[in-house]
Amino acid sequence: MTATTPTASPAADGRETVVGIDRLGISFATDAGAVKAVDDVSLTVHKGEIVAIVGESGSGKTVTAKSILGLLPGTATVNGAVLLTNREGTGRSDVVTLSRRELRGVRGTDVAMVFQEPSTALNPVYTVGWQIAEGLRAHGRISRAEAKAQAIEILRKVGIPDPETRVDYYPHQFSGGQKQRVVIAAALVMNPGLIVADEPTTALDVTVQAEILDLLRRLRDEFGTAIVLITHNMGVVADLADRVVVMYQGRVVEEADARTLFSAPQAEYTKKLLGSVPRIGQGRAHTESRAADRAGASAERASVGRVENAVVEATDLVIEYPGRLGRKGFRAVQGVSFAIAPGEVLGLVGESGSGKTTIGRAIGGLTRATGGSLKVLDFEMVGFSERRFKPLRADIGFVFQDPAASFNPLLSIADAVAEPLIIHGRAKSPSSARARVDELLEAVQLPKSYGDRFPHELSGGQRQRASLARALALEPKLLIADEPTSALDVSVQARVLELFAELQKEFGFAALFISHDLAVVDLLADRIAVLYHGELVEEGTGAQVLDDPQHEYTRRLIASLPVPDPAEQAERRTVLAALRAEAGNAPA
């Protein structure tokens, strides 16, 4: 137990400080020498307060939060102080100087952690009850019956229905949102004064995210637990946080209460960050002008007597994944019909498992369509032969979700962009394709010299630009973009989306834009199609779908999307609650 420092003493308004971080600096030993991840960061969290730490990847937000639990890897060197008060407010310890043994005593009882990916945070071979009781057993002798009783109690508190039976379930028997509830229950069971939640909703669908956010809010209100929330999603921050700490390059650039931050951001970086968050309704004007342009263009074409077929036409499309021997296959897409006209952008929205990626892959010929009809550039994809489809691949571009993984790490960017040109015989070797590659890099706003770099030498946004360059190398008629921006930071996402819109205008390709984020889709798409459990529940222009949603799921989806404005978000919460009540859909 170390002496207190001025910053860690009780706040002026008399509220107790749960954790006080004072001039924290963290450096990591890497192959390339020392790297400073956190530099001179000070912040305090009071009892019953939710503090959000926001920032882009690499800004040091996760490292800062992990230092509260002493969870840093052995390569880290820490200076400064992290003063943690225990639940009763009787003792205070500096986590930085604690021994391993003392750290173990603090973890779980004074501070607990909720991880990003609930499916990997739970051990698949133990029941959830056992895993929740693990913390109880680690911190004292407790009988089996007593541990189970406490586990049931805590599961009920986090909203797991029928906890008496489900305490004996294994993690795979729960849905993603329920798993996250279990993880939160495990963190809560020792009743710690502070919970550190590292991107607790990033891996979840928007509708489930809203429920988990409700639960976290209840923790604060009913248990008085302080929460340190790490997130990059400004909507989540607006929904949940009382106070926001903005980090950038290892430093705190701004700290303010949530309402002030969103209404009057001070730091230049915060303003930029808030400006780049996509909002529903932003893209409306773009879309309308684009639609007008296209209507004119197609009328022109029609007047010269050219009638163009749809680039993609799906009629009652069924895609089934074969089951194991003796088991029925899994039907990922059932009876979906839609069409993409030349030069049109169709946005495909849906939660994970709704079949949106499957449809994209079927159009690209990576997954086989099994029933109905799917015509891509007038070529029937149901039961297609790869050999006959191959020439058509030149007219289809594909942008993958993770730009880091979609480049061969051993090929330079120029070689990777030249691949389609070589494969389709437009160039003999990467060097003879270089002129065209340079043109393409220029088109996606990358310096020519970047062609000589390797994928790992580019940032995420730059890689996604290169990925666009590769997809556009053969000037395709159709571009399939599968969540192209979901691996990127908000600020980068905005620029990549802008670029996408510009390129679409310039090259005039039709596009299928797949995303889970309604706001992103709204920004780009001419029409939006909503998928739910493999079925197309709604389709129409952005204005139709977003302003006047017909299907119950679409309504819930729109209401669940947190907006980066605390006041508006509070209103939306009540709307969502009403919607849920209406559907008789208790939070599951």
């Binding site: 790297v35 690499g58 230049e268 990576l366």
Partner: protein, 343 residues
């Protein structure tokens, strides 16, 4: 948030020398791991040097029984003329140990090259294409695993050399029999990597572009699948020394008149040990232990260094280092810079 052009400075690359496999690891390593690697490299280097310069180092030929002064005599204790004494057959122990290094290196190189080529090709084809070919190859690979490797090597050396014992016949027989034992290891590793890489988006992206299968296999999969090879390679090399010695010890190796071979010498020294003649067994035995130790040390430390979690690093001082430029929009060049750059 100025849009400074940090990104248009090309990333610093190490010199070509610094990026060579073993040299790179040597630079990376610190502390005990560095010590292990250096010790291993020294012993292995010495082993290879001795093999190359055997004709210069060894005072006598490997099958030499007499010189100008007459016959060496059997089981002579170490003396000025024969610093490690002579064997029961009347050979000079020192010369046989030196020449034996040459045989060992030849067999290691041949065995490892053969098994790498065969293992990689089979693993790549089997992993990428899958189907019945894959199943058959996996079963055969597992069947080979099921045999004791020395037994298999014995059978193969009989089949291949048919009891002959010329220098190259013997070396090839030993190398090939070791090869067959090792192929499944390379096959398994490359197949597993291929199956993993097959699902990587960059392979799917190549498929999307319509790249032919052979191009995907060799341009995109193969080069990415070979990362772990240097480690298996070094570990197998030491096993090859042991298998060769084992074959020689059991009498399936190379005749003393064709080449020097440590295992054979050990076999012949068996009866000497009980009668107090230590030098005939000690030196060939030491040679085997040292060569295996050297190669294993290199392999083990390469293994540790390849894994960032096992790799030791110097501890950094508090507050050390610069804040890295992870900020994404800073690493994106501004439009002005791009125009300048492209002009």
């Amino acid at each position: 948030m100025t849009d400074t052009v940090i990104a248009s400075v090309p990333p610093v690359k190490n010199s070509l020398l610094g990026r060579l496999p073993v040299v790179k690891q040597l630079r990376q390593s610190v502390g005990l791991q560095r010590g292990m690697l250096i010790a291993g490299l020294t012993i292995t280097g010495l082993f290879v040097l001795v093999a190359i310069f055997a004709p210069l180092i060894a005072p006598y030929g490997f099958a030499q029984l007499r010189d100008a002064q007459g016959s060496f005599g059997a089981q002579q204790p170490p003396s000025a003329a024969h610093i490690m004494g002579t064997t029961v057959g009347g050979y000079d122990v020192f010369s046989r140990v030196i020449w034996g290094a040459q045989t060992a290196v030849l067999v290691i190189v041949l065995a490892v090259v053969f098994s790498i080529i065969a293992g990689i090709l089979l693993g790549l084809v089997s992993g990428y294409l899958g189907g019945w070919l894959d199943r058959v190859l996996v079963v055969i690979g597992d069947a080979i695993y099921a045999f004791p490797s020395l037994l298999l090597a014995i059978v193969l050396s009989i089949v291949i050399s048919g009891g002959q014992s010329s220098l190259w016949g013997g070396i090839l027989a030993a190398a090939l029999s070791i090869t067959v034992v090792f192929i499944p290891q390379y096959y398994r590793v490359i197949r597993a990597e291929t199956i993993r890489i097959k699902a990587e988006p960059y392979v799917e992206s190549a498929k999307m572009l319509g790249a032919p299968t052979s191009r995907i296999m060799f341009r995109h999969v193969l080069r990415n699948a070979t990362r772990t090879l240097p480690i298996i390679f070094t570990l197998n090399a030491s096993e090859a020394v042991l298998t060769l010695a084992g074959l020689g010890f059991l009498g399936f190796g190379i005749e003393p008149s064709a080449a020097a071979e440590w295992g054979y010498d050990l076999n012949k020294a068996l009866s000497d040990v009980t009668s107090g003649i230590w030098w005939t067994a000690l030196y060939p035995g030491l040679a085997i232990v040292l060569s295996v130790l050297g190669i294993t040390l290199v392999g083990e430390s390469l293994n540790d260094l390849a894994d960032p979690r096992l790799r030791g690093r110097k501890r950094v001082k508090a507050k050390a280092g610069a804040v890295s430029l992870t900020a994404v929009d800073q690493t994106l060049p501004s439009d002005v810079d791009i125009r300048e750059e492209n002009a």
